[in-house]
């Protein structure tokens, strides 16, 4: 905490980390690139980018057709990495996600056929359409960053980010994600319908030739890994940690189930990433405040309405003292 320490002490012995301002530039670059495809939704784009840098996964929860998949694809494309997509359907099996051992007639050995989960960015589309067993296969991979098939454990690639979508309509044809598993998503985002002028612009861009097909990557895997390391080293001082604790405490007092410690960790990681996008090597309460509305609500159960979590979080932000 003294000025003897250089402000950006990011050097790590084993992994090369980037300078925090480089990370900020990188984020800006990705966001600008994605904005070529997605009209509006700047906040959502930023949230997805910061979730990726903060080693989290994102759940996009909205009605079909607002661009959830397009957003995920744009970000994956912007980074030069492996992008996989799984369309969850009621008959999808766990092995369809993780992969399966196949007997190779030529070599006369079982070979592991990697499932779609082995990608740097995995898009799980309409995840709530698959039965819980299949959902949990993906969620386990998210948590452990590894999959186990037939007794063999295999590491998933690094970085590994899941962007799942679910839609809120047709509730009788979906399997709601268990509450415990929802907790594993760092953020749950809603895109919402675009503004009229945004929609008009989007139509202008997409009618005919879709811009996603021309989208090029702006960064590579190594840069992302280094940026994630930088983000992990962003300073979170005691006042901020205490603030996060107070926020979590408030939700626990004012809801049936409040934010778990995992939720608090996720909140601070998200805040770290947001600080990095602002070229700051330390988290300020504003970062926490910016991330809390997307990081916390889906971890809160009040009575029966899922959306009540948002009200609890906004109350917490209004009431809980910053210092």
């Amino acid at each position: 905490m003294t000025d003897v320490n250089p402000p950006t002490q990011t050097a790590s012995p084993d992994r090369a980390a980037l300078d925090v301002s480089t990370v900020a530039d990188l984020c800006a670059e990705i966001e600008a690139n994605v904005a070529d495809v997605i009209v509006g939704h700047e906040e959502a784009i930023e949230h997805v980018v910061t979730a990726m840098l903060g080693r989290g996964h994102v759940l996009l929860d909205d009605v079909p057709g607002v661009g959830k998949t397009m957003l995920a694809r744009s970000i994956a494309t912007s980074v030069d990495c492996t992008f996989r997509r799984v369309q969850f359907t009621p008959d999808l099996l766990p092995a369809d996600v993780t992969g399966v051992n196949v007997f190779n007639q030529q070599s006369r050995e079982f070979e592991f056929q990697r499932g779609p989960v082995f990608g740097n960015i995995v898009l799980g589309d309409e995840i709530n359409r698959a039965p819980p067993k299949t959902q949990s296969a993906l969620l386990e991979a998210m948590e452990e960053e590894q999959v186990t098939v037939d007794g063999t454990t295999r590491d998933l690639p690094d970085p590994f980010t899941v962007i799942a979508t679910q839609n809120a309509i047709e509730p009788n044809r979906t399997y709601d994600l268990p509450f415990a598993e929802l907790d594993r998503f760092m953020k749950k985002l809603q895109l919402g319908y675009p503004e009229p002028e945004e929609e008009a612009e989007m139509l202008g861009r997409t009618v005919g030739h879709h811009p996603i097909e021309d989208l090029e990557s702006v960064t590579d895997l190594e840069t992302i890994v280094a940026a994630r390391e930088t983000v992990a080293q962003i300073r979170v001082e005691a006042p901020v940690r205490e603030y996060a604790t107070r926020l979590a405490g408030y939700t626990r007092e004012h809801a049936r189930i409040g934010v778990s410690p995992r939720g608090t960790i996720a909140l601070l990681r998200a805040a770290q990433a947001r600080a990095a996008t602002d070229a700051r090597d330390y988290v300020i309460p504003d970062d926490v405040q910016a991330e809390a509305p997307v990081v916390l609500p889906h971890r809160i159960r009040t009575t029966d309405h899922d959306r009540d979590g948002e009200a609890v979080v906004s109350n917490a932000l209004e009431r809980v003292s910053v210092e």
Binding site: T2, P7, V322
Partner: protein, 771 residues
């Protein structure tokens, strides 16, 4: 108890930590101290009584023993038992008092009404000194409150402990014995005991003691500015001329007490006229108990119902008709009054010493007839009277001297009366000694302590009060029953059998008891200089054209006519010389201006003043003027000192009150907006700089919400273009965030931040700021 406080002594010092907090043990000591002070306050009042009547040692011993007993019993008996024990102790003490006074305990059952009314009288302002056995009374009174309050205090029941002590103090306030200072001290101690007790119980800190300070200051200021304590010396509506700075005001300032003042003035106004076949000293008050600085009349007065008992010896009955020329609070009468006639008779009460007192004010123009017994024994008879004093005389206070009377006083008295064998000779020797060695002056500084002693041993001059006081006390030291009486000299004889008495004639003299004769008057004051001064005062007033100096019949008659005097004096002295009168004993009574004198009982005219009055009078007047200037200066100074003291106390109270309301914090915060002390820690400096900025912004725009971060607060303020929140504020916030959440700031950055904030805040100073 003492063991307990010892064992906690170490803890107590430890309690006084760096933060200045004081532990409960200290508060306990303070509370116990306050209870002790409260106890001391009323014991000191009682001690004033014992100092006069004797028994101080017993009082202190009793109080000490009671405190020890209470301390021991506090650990052994329960409160209920203690209350019963205290009540029993009080009852036993009271019973003992009744036995001693000869009333008997059975009076409690037979005359409970009387006891009740006595208590009411006492509470209604009867000073303890007027009680017949005041010493015993104090001893009976003191154990119960001292025991109960200390017992409860040791048991940490401070609020209850204050009740018995407070009751005792209030009782003494109501009797008029507790003065303002003592009462104030006792009350403060009571408040302190309760307050510190609470602090001990609640584990309070010094910061909460400010409430106590406010209470103290409030009590002090209120009690000094509002006179609610019935202080004896405060009520002097007794005489119309009852200004305590006049001689008569001093000697007759209230009906039961006669004060001894310092310098006094003389009022030349006519008080009353007397038609009498012979002139006499007109007595208005008789006092028996000497308190060192004042005379007190003990015993109760009773309503006048028929003539009083005549003196045992030979006497002459003289009838006087007294007409009040102004409103009077006294009934002047010669010698030993026996009967009073007129409308005033039913408004007359008789003191235990046979003096008439009006129960209502005597209105100007009222007149009454008094018949008095004037005893006129000659020296031989008095010498032969012996010392076989009747029991009531011996039991009364006629032999009382203050406990503190020094042996030196007694030795000097013994020296003066060495050659005298009989009480009469002693009286004459003392009278002669005082007349010849002390000068007459109305300008004296009132001595501290025992006035009689000071006058005899130290002072060179004084006026009648000093002479009479000294002589009474000297006689008592020689075991001769004597009392101090006040009144007026015969006054100006304007016609045959008619006397005009003025304020200047106010006087004090001595009466000595002789078996088979009764009370015989003696005059220790040298009459010559006295009359000069007094007559001059009248002449002065006449020439100034003052009102009320003369009656119709008196104005053409000179007050001190040398011819008149010289005509009277030889006549008087002639009579004296037959041995029919006291004046025989005076050396050189025939010729000297100071030699003759005054037997109020036998002389026709007392106004004996003879020579050179002009020169002496002038010098008295001159010194009077000087003294007036000095005394007015002194009084101005003393007033200002008192005011300053009250002001100081009030200031302390205000400061504590301000502290209580948190105004000092506010002031400190406000000042802190504009100035900041630098520390070694740049991060801390930066943070404090930001706080200053925030306070100024809060005052100017709005305070930051608790849930609002510094940055969002700033953004919210900047959102309004009318608000002049410059880029330097953003810099400050950035530094602040870095100091608080980031890796810290450098010294230079911190200094820069402080300067930025200085600039920002000082530009917004309310008065000198640029905006």
């Amino acid at each position: 108890m003492s063991a307990k406080s010892e064992s906690h002594a170490g803890d107590r010092t430890a309690d006084l930590g760096l933060d200045g907090s004081i532990g409960p043990d200290t508060f306990r000591l303070l509370a116990l101290g306050c209870v002790l002070v409260m106890t001391a306050s009323y014991v000191s009042v009682l001690r004033e009584v014992t100092r006069v009547v004797g028994g101080t040692q017993s009082l202190f011993a009793l109080v000490g023993a009671v405190i020890v007993v209470a301390t021991v019993l506090a650990w052994t008996i329960r409160p209920r038992t203690a209350v019963v024990a205290a009540l029993v102790a009080g009852a036993v003490g009271f019973g003992y008092y009744l036995e001693i006074t000869g009333v008997g305990v059975d009076v409690v059952f037979s005359a409970s009404d009387a006891i009740l009314s006595d208590t009411v009288t006492l509470v209604a302002g009867l000073p303890l000194l007027r009680m017949v056995e005041a010493g015993v009374w104090t001893l009976a009174f003191v154990p119960a409150p001292v025991f109960l309050s200390w017992y409860l205090a040791v048991r940490s029941r401070y609020a209850l402990a204050v009740i018995p002590g407070g009751f005792a103090l209030i009782f003494l306030v109501l009797t008029g014995d507790a003065g303002t200072t003592v009462t104030l001290l006792g009350t403060l101690a009571a408040v302190g005991a309760v307050g510190f007790g609470e602090l001990e119980r609640r584990g309070g800190s010094v910061a909460q003691a400010d409430l106590l300070a406010v209470s103290f200051a409030l009590i002090i200021v209120l009690s000094l500015s509002v006179t609610v304590v019935p202080d004896g010396s405060g009520s002097s509506d007794h005489l119309s001329g009852g200004d305590p700075n006049t001689l008569e005001g001093a000697i007759d300032y209230s009906s039961e007490r006669s004060g001894i003042g310092g310098s006094v003035d003389l009022s030349p106004e006519v008080r009353f006229t007397v038609e009498s076949e012979r002139g006499a000293y007109w007595r208005t008050g008789v006092y028996d108990r000497f308190a060192g600085d004042e005379w007190v009349r003990t015993g109760d007065a009773s309503a006048y119902d028929g003539p009083l008992e005549e003196p045992p010896g030979e006497h002459e009955r003289v009838r006087q008709v007294v007409t009040a020329e102004t409103n009077l609070g006294v009934l002047p009468a010669a010698g030993q009054p026996l009967a009073i006639e007129g409308d005033l008779a039913q408004h007359t009460e008789v003191s235990a010493h046979g003096q008439f007192h009006p129960t209502t004010s005597v209105i100007e123009g009222d007149s009454y007839a008094v018949e008095s017994a004037i005893i006129d024994p000659d020296a031989a008879e008095l010498r032969a009277a012996g010392t076989n004093y009747p029991q009531p005389i011996l039991e009364g206070d006629y032999l009382q001297t203050p406990e503190s009377t020094s042996s030196e006083f007694e030795e000097r008295t013994a020296e003066i009366t060495a050659d005298a064998d009989t009480p009469y000779d002693k009286a004459v020797a003392i009278e002669a000694h005082l007349r010849s060695t002390k000068d007459y002056s109305l300008e004296v500084d009132r001595p501290n302590g025992n006035v009689a002693e000071e006058f005899l041993l130290e002072m060179d001059e004084g006026y009648c009060v000093y002479f009479a006081t000294a002589m009474t006390q000297m006689l008592r030291a020689e075991d001769v029953p004597a009392r101090y009486v006040t009144g007026y000299t015969a006054g100006q004889e304007v016609d045959d059998d008619e006397y005009v008495v003025r304020g200047t004639d106010a006087h004090a003299w001595v009466e000595v008891y002789f078996p088979d004769h009764g009370w015989v008057a003696f005059e220790p004051t040298p009459p010559g200089p006295r009359d000069e001064a007094h007559a001059d005062s009248v002449e002065q007033a006449r020439s100034d054209g003052a009102d009320n100096v003369d009656t119709d019949s008196s104005q053409d008659v000179p007050v001190s006519d040398d011819d008149d005097e010289s005509a009277d004096n030889p006549d008087e002295n002639g009579a004296d010389d037959d041995g029919s009168d006291l004046n025989e004993t005076d050396p050189g009574s025939d010729d000297g201006p100071d030699g003759n004198e005054t037997d109020p009982g036998s002389d026709d005219d007392q106004s004996g003043s003879d020579d050179g009055s002009d020169g002496a009078g002038a010098s008295v007047e001159a010194s009077d003027r000087d003294d007036g200037l000095v005394s007015s200066l002194i009084s101005a100074l003393s007033v200002s000192r008192e005011t300053a003291a009250i002001g100081l106390v009030a200031l302390v109270g205000v400061v504590a009150g301000v502290h209580r309301t948190g105004a000092t914090d506010r002031v400190r915060r406000t000042v802190g907006c504009y100035w900041q002390r630098r520390t070694d820690d740049p991060d801390r400096d930066t943070e404090r700089a930001y706080r200053r900025l925030e306070r100024v912004l809060a005052r100017e725009y709005r305070p930051r919400e608790r849930s609002e971060s510094a940055r969002s607060y700033l953004e919210a303020l900047s959102a309004d273009p009318d608000r002049d929140v410059g880029p330097q504020v953003a810099t400050v916030v950035d530094r602040y965030e870095r100091a608080l959440y980031g890796g810290g700031v450098s010294r230079n950055e911190a200094d820069e931040t402080i300067e930025l904030v200085d600039e920002f805040t000082r530009a917004r100073l309310p008065i000198v700021g640029r905006r």
